[in-house]
Subunit: 259 residues, 2 copies
DNA sequence: CGGGGAATTGACGTGCCTCAAAACCAGTGG
DNA sequence: CCACTGGTTTTGAGGCACGTCAATTCCCCG
């Protein structure tokens, strides 16, 4: 390997050149600060499908940003049954829930071939106390995570099974679109069982509802490839804009059966 | 009102004299820093039952600490149906989910007569950047909130109705005990409908299960006063230590019906 | 003592889970 | 090129935990 190649690799994994920069860094950041950040971000060996980024209980050393691919985080109960907390796409910070106890509270596993940026916590806190606005940025990211969790709770607690699936697909579409993907084409990186677990449904129910949405010509599904055919219908099903829908006038209960 | 009384009131609401100090402040904090904090904490007019601390959508100006009483936070969907996100007891910070968008994402309402400490966000961030460890403390608090939310999700997603109620009571018992209350005596500040909503159950189900736990001699209930009679049984029911229980060998499903 | 919200209790219905089996697909090796 | 294997996904039949509806009962409070 020549020096030139090394330099290229170096540049390629620096924040300055990263296309995801606007996702993990605060908006106004000058060149000097940026290079300071570059110094402390390390690239990790890429993860293969199913490989673990960290385990619950592990001492907190670093936080991670997904660079490409995707990661699921989940907790396990005593019987070994998992509850998936979230799916993390490129540009998203992983590990924030470990800051309370200085130990990871959940497992993080790659859903596909995935590359990761790593920042050690002491360095991160150090930089945060020095670069104005960065401390605030961290708080913002954590707060955003809180809001996400609340949305997840509402998703699983207050929506019918079909509504959950529709909302899930819409959210994924939005997030991938935000990363520059076409918004009608969703390449799922997770298995049906992961989707079911995340939505608190049985795997068979998810499968059936994918079929139903397909029958309704709202999406087309082939294995893990989903195409959205009718966004407005999907929105309607996800109860996201409810513009005078007629057919499914369910009573909206304080705590319905499905949640 | 005399000057002496004013001074007493002043002292009483200062952080230095607050019995909850160890809850909202980082452990090692010196006298000078403490008085600096005192300067920026304001007491608010007490809230009556049902009164609102802030509404979703309101611009973020301050964060709040419950001083006495309790608060529920909740979001509302388009149909006006609520989903309760959490109950906040004395010493707990409220409003952290507003830091992402500089606007409150949920409503906060007092469940009983409640007193509140208020800190404006600019002042808080200012102090955080000056007092070493305080920035970290804020991140810790937010992280703890994340962990709480994850526990709430597991509670509603993976547990049977009876298990949820048991786990809920145990958690409340623990939290009040931590505040110096007797751990077997739980004075609920919220209505059955709030508990039901928080646990994603129908209000009738909660009522029936309170009755069932009472029949089983695990608790005694009279209106909003709950006494725990058998902690180990309650733990068992909450699936918190599962020591070879025989009777209810449910299959633990990937996504059971109730969630 | 009477009005009204909160809580309880009972009868019944159903959305989703469970169990079971078939279909599908990717990867492997003959 | 195709049969073989194992995991994933789909499809069907039936059951149950919890929701819904409706009617009391219980308190709190004026």
């Amino acid at each position: 390997m020549t020096l030139v190649q090394l330099d290229l690799a170096q540049i390629k994994r620096s924040c300055s050149a990263c296309s995801l920069r606007h996702l993990c860094l605060p908006a106004p950041i000058d060149a000097a600060d940026l290079s300071r950040l570059d110094a402390l971000v390390r690239a990790r060996r890429p993860l293969k499908t199913g490989e673990s980024l960290y385990l619950a209980g592990a001492p907190l050393r670093s936080l991670f940003v997904v660079r490409s691919g995707s990661v699921k985080t989940f907790v396990e109960d005593k019987e070994g049954e998992a509850q998936i907390l979230g799916f993390h796409l490129p540009g998203e910070l992983v590990g924030l829930d470990a800051l309370a106890e200085d130990a990871h509270q959940c497992h993080a596993v790659a859903l596909e071939h995935t590359t990761i940026c790593e920042v050690t916590v002491p360095q991160l806190l150090d930089v945060a106390s020095q670069i104005p606005g960065f401390q605030r940025h961290l708080l913002r990211l954590q707060s955003r995570e809180l809001v996400r969790d609340h949305e997840h709770l509402v998703l699983t607690s207050r929506l019918q099974a079909l509504e959950r699936v529709a909302a899930f697909l819409l959210a994924l579409s939005r997030r991938y679109h935000h990363l520059g993907h076409p918004e009608n084409r969703i390449q799922l990186s997770m298995a049906r069982s992961d989707i079911a677990n995340y939505l608190s449904l049985a795997i068979e129910t998810v499968s059936r509802l994918f079929g139903k949405l397909s029958d309704m010509k709202v999406i087309s599904v082939r294995r893990r490839m989903v195409h959205v055919l009718d966004f407005s219908k999907l929105h309607e099903l996800a109860r996201e804009h409810h513009q005078g829908d007629a057919e499914h006038a369910y009573p909206i209960n304080a705590g319905n059966q499905a949640g």
